[in-house]
């Protein structure tokens, strides 16, 4: 019982939050439409958090994801402005994400810089580049092809009024890919081994450096994907728009980590973390809670939600 609380405490916290909103906002909260809405609202955060999970499985961080998301959006938008097609822009942005991520990986794995320092450095570099190439301006309007901005508004109709948003589908696909990679491939299992004990992993013949290098590449790719989704959703790109993603993504992974016995990240748990953040924002706004009170509540609820799963985990 006590041990169940430790593992499921955060999940129970999440369920309680959902129940609370269901009771408080009986008409609109627990509807398919609202949940699809939430899924769409959190989709960008979700993608970043999912790929951040890959890095955090190894015990590392990637602070540069927010800047990278901004940069990727800018790169795509600039390609569009220069008359390139949607796919060219998207491919370019993803390439930038992959290369930027691999640069992080090289700094961490081969040069040996602490992930925090390395990705804080590249956070600044990528953000500076985003400002530099965009001239600090927001790119929008005619420059953004409707085929691109239309994507975020499109979806698969489920009923007359409800449709499954494309952004939700993208996030779900990323979830699936990351889940498969982490839980069902030797690549993923080796990442877990690295996170659990780098020395043991290396002694077992695992190429720790190469895997870390690649994992950061995936995180960069995820950040770029989220940046594209963001740009599509707001039909514009500006050099700061991704910056809120980093801390929330790490928070989501950490929230998820409270749900595993040994405290290692799992992408399914990260999803719960993302949903906790998303549902709190959605529900409290629907309840017309004052912005400031809302902030206090969100922080408190997060702490309370994980408290039950943490109680007694420390000694001494």
């Amino acid at each position: 019982m006590a041990s169940a609380l430790k593992t499921y405490g955060t999940l129970i916290g999440f369920v309680l939050v959902v129940l609370f909103f269901w009771i408080e906002i009986p008409d609109t909260f627990m509807t398919a439409k609202n949940w699809l809405n939430i899924s769409q609202q959190v989709s960008m955060l979700a993608v970043v958090a999912f790929t951040m999970t890959i890095v955090m499985v190894m015990g590392d961080f990637d602070l540069s994801v927010g800047s990278m998301a901004s940069l990727a959006g800018i790169v795509a938008a600039l390609a569009f402005r220069d008359g390139h097609g949607v796919w060219v822009g998207v491919a370019l942005a993803l390439a930038v994400g992959l290369v930027g991520g691999l640069l992080n990986g090289a700094l961490v794995a081969y040069v040996g810089i602490l992930p925090f320092v390395a990705t804080l450095g590249t956070l600044t570099v990528y953000s500076g580049l985003a400002f530099l190439v965009s001239g600090g301006k927001t790119i929008f309007g005619r420059d953004i092809p409707t085929a691109f901005s239309g994507f975020a508004r499109s979806g698969i109709s489920l009923t007359d009024t409800v449709s499954l948003p494309s952004l939700t589908i993208v996030a779900a696909l990323v979830l699936l890919v990351v889940w498969f990679t982490l839980e069902q491939t030797t690549f993923g299992r080796r990442l877990y081994a690295i996170g659990g004990n780098k020395e043991a992993a290396r002694l077992a013949g695992i190429r720790v450096r190469r895997l870390r290098f690649l994992a950061f590449g995936l995180s960069g790719l995820g950040a770029a994907t989220a940046g594209l989704m963001y740009a599509s959703r707001v039909a514009s790109a500006n050099p700061t728009q991704g910056s809120g993603l980093m801390l929330d993504a790490i928070a989501a992974v950490f929230l998820g980590m409270t749900m595993s016995e040994e405290g290692e990240p799992h992408v399914a748990a990260t999803l719960i973390g993302v949903l906790i953040l998303g549902v709190l924002g959605n529900g409290l706004t629907q309840m017309s809670i004052d912005s400031y009170v809302r902030e206090v509540l969100i922080g408190s609820i997060i702490v309370l939600a994980v408290a039950s799963s943490s109680l007694g985990k420390t000694k001494g």
């Binding site: 069902q184 299992r189 877990y192 659990g196 043991a200 992993a201 040994e262 001494g316």
Partner: protein, 523 residues
């Protein structure tokens, strides 16, 4: 275990499998290896001997691709090789059981075994978890281990079981059906955390591998075991090879002399003073999730041994007394006064010293210095003006105790991480005897310590008891218990099975008690 070996000597071929020549390695100016050479033939067990800090583990780490040598040549089957990484080493057919246990705690036993290997898959994509677990079970069974579920998280196993998994991992190629053994197995004190029975099973596998033509490098501070198992031995002293001999016809005393460079009689120091009648520690009805109703007392000047199979409750009793795992039922009193100890901090404060079983996980802050580790529980005695740490006194304490336990180091400010395994163990022991405690609770205090230093530690224990200190000594080293303890409590399944006096008890008798053999004599 009478030291008699029955093996067909003709199995040892003359083919040199591995040859190491003139290996040098210095760490920041301090020499760990200087002219170390070693030759291992296919089909032999080659013991690598030396005092703590002689360079055995460093040599092994060079072979494993963990440490890059400054100079020296390594050849396998006559062809010179460079080993740049553990992956290289594995590819060359070398398998290792390292001195310091390194496992991935949050992965399953099966995953730990197949770390770095390809997992079996279904339809070419998904990991076949059942297949993985089956194969892991087969690998464990090859070592005669059937009690460890392959699906269990590594963190949930006892350290002894973790060691068994690591050993099984090294042997996996040979243990699956139709699998061929690797070229060379390198084992750095594999039995340090094993029970006598588990050690025997390990030896059986080693003999099987030898028969199949593999080479084995074997490191241990247990001389009996080396004499029983090895074909030849090479001795390192201060990083250099001093001799290579055939075991046949060699005496233990000669081996010791080669190791430490002077004459030395292996044995145990005699008791210096009689046991007092005053009770130092009294434990009554101690119960936890694992222990049931443990009652005993230790008198001043007495050494009370705790024996039993791995996990029978010896460690748990000590941990419960110092409050390492939170609360417990039952009463503990010190010199007749009842005490309540729920945290280790109060144990230390009340004059109990605690030496935990696992030096790396539970004992040492390896990033800190020797002095910092020794002083940790005694910091309050080392302050000036109420809050300033007296570093000079701290260093002095470490130097003083270091000399007593024969610590080999560059000085009190050397990082513990840089010490050899045996020397790290001496640091933990030095901590326990610092600050003159009334009762010492020692869990495997001499694990990995060389014969010479081991004698010194035993002599120290004799001195301490002569001063009226009481010692509780848990050990899997049966001779140590038989010769050092006054009485021994034998545990079985968390309960006290019996309490015996060591008078007239021998190692075999104690082993029988641990197993609960019905013919065992009772005290």
């Amino acid at each position: 275990m009478d030291g008699r070996r029955c093996r067909p000597p003709d199995r040892v071929s003359d083919m040199t499998l591995l040859s190491i020549n003139g290996l040098d390695k210095s760490f920041a100016g301090a020499r760990a290896l200087g002219g170390a050479s070693l030759e291992v033939r296919a089909g032999e067990v080659h013991a690598l001997m030396g005092e703590n800090g002689a360079g055995k583990s460093t040599l092994i780490k060079v072979l494993a691709g963990v440490v890059k040598p400054d100079a020296g040549a390594i050849a396998i089957d006559g062809a010179s090789v460079t080993i740049g990484s553990p992956a290289d080493s594995l590819r060359l057919g070398l398998r290792f059981i390292h001195q310091e246990l390194s496992v991935v705690p949050h992965l399953s036993v099966a995953e730990n075994i197949f770390l770095g290997r390809d997992y079996p898959r279904r339809w070419g994509v998904m990991i076949d978890w059942d297949g993985l677990n089956r194969r892991a079970a087969a690998v464990l069974a090859g070592l005669g281990v059937n009690h460890i579920p392959p699906g269990r998280k590594m963190a949930r196993l006892s350290v002894g079981d973790q060691m068994l998994v690591k050993i099984a991992t090294a042997f996996q190629d040979a243990s699956v059906e139709g699998g061929a053994p690797a070229r060379l197995y390198v084992m750095d004190e594999p039995t340090a955390a094993l029970s006598a029975e588990e050690s025997q099973r390990l030896f059986a596998v080693i003999r099987r591998l030898r028969a199949a033509g593999a080479g084995i490098i074997y490191v241990s501070h247990r001389l009996d075991e080396v004499m029983e198992l090895a074909d030849r031995l090479t001795v390192l002293r201060d990083g250099a090879t001093v001799a290579t001999r055939d075991i046949a016809g060699l005496q233990k005393l000669e081996v010791i002399e080669l190791m430490i460079g002077r004459r030395f009689a292996e044995g145990y120091p005699p008791r210096l003073a009689p046991v007092s009648s005053e009770v130092a520690l009294n434990v009554e009805g101690l119960s936890t999730a694992y222990l049931q109703d443990v009652t005993f007392e230790v008198r001043k000047g007495e050494i009370l041994g705790l024996a039993g199979l791995e996990g029978a409750g010896q460690s748990e009793v000590i941990r419960a007394i110092v409050g390492a795992d939170g609360g417990h039922d039952g009463a503990v009193s010190l010199a007749g006064r009842p005490v309540k100890i729920e945290e280790p901090v109060s144990a230390w404060a009340k004059g109990l010293a605690f030496l935990p079983r696992e030096r790396r996980q539970e004992g040492l802050v390896s990033s800190a210095s020797i002095a910092g580790n020794v002083s940790l529980p005694h910091l309050d005695d080392l302050v000036r003006f109420g809050l300033v740490l007296d570093r000079a006194a701290e260093a002095e304490q470490a130097v003083d105790l270091g000399r007593k336990v024969k610590l080999k180091s560059k000085g009190p400010r050397q990082k513990v991480r840089e010490l050899s395994g045996g020397n790290q163990q001496k640091v933990v022991f030095a901590r326990a005897i610092a600050g003159s405690p009334d009762v010492l609770l020692l869990d495997e205090p001499t694990r990995g310590v060389d014969v010479g230093a081991r004698y010194d530690i035993h002599a120290l224990l004799r001195e301490l008891t002569a001063e009226g200190k009481a010692v509780v000594l848990a050990s899997s080293d049966l001779p140590e218990l038989v010769y050092m303890a006054d009485r021994i409590i034998v545990f079985r399944d968390g309960k006290v099975a019996t309490t015996v006096s060591t008078e007239g008890l021998d190692q075999a008798g104690l082993a029988a008690l641990c197993f609960g053999t019905p013919t065992a004599p009772s005290a």
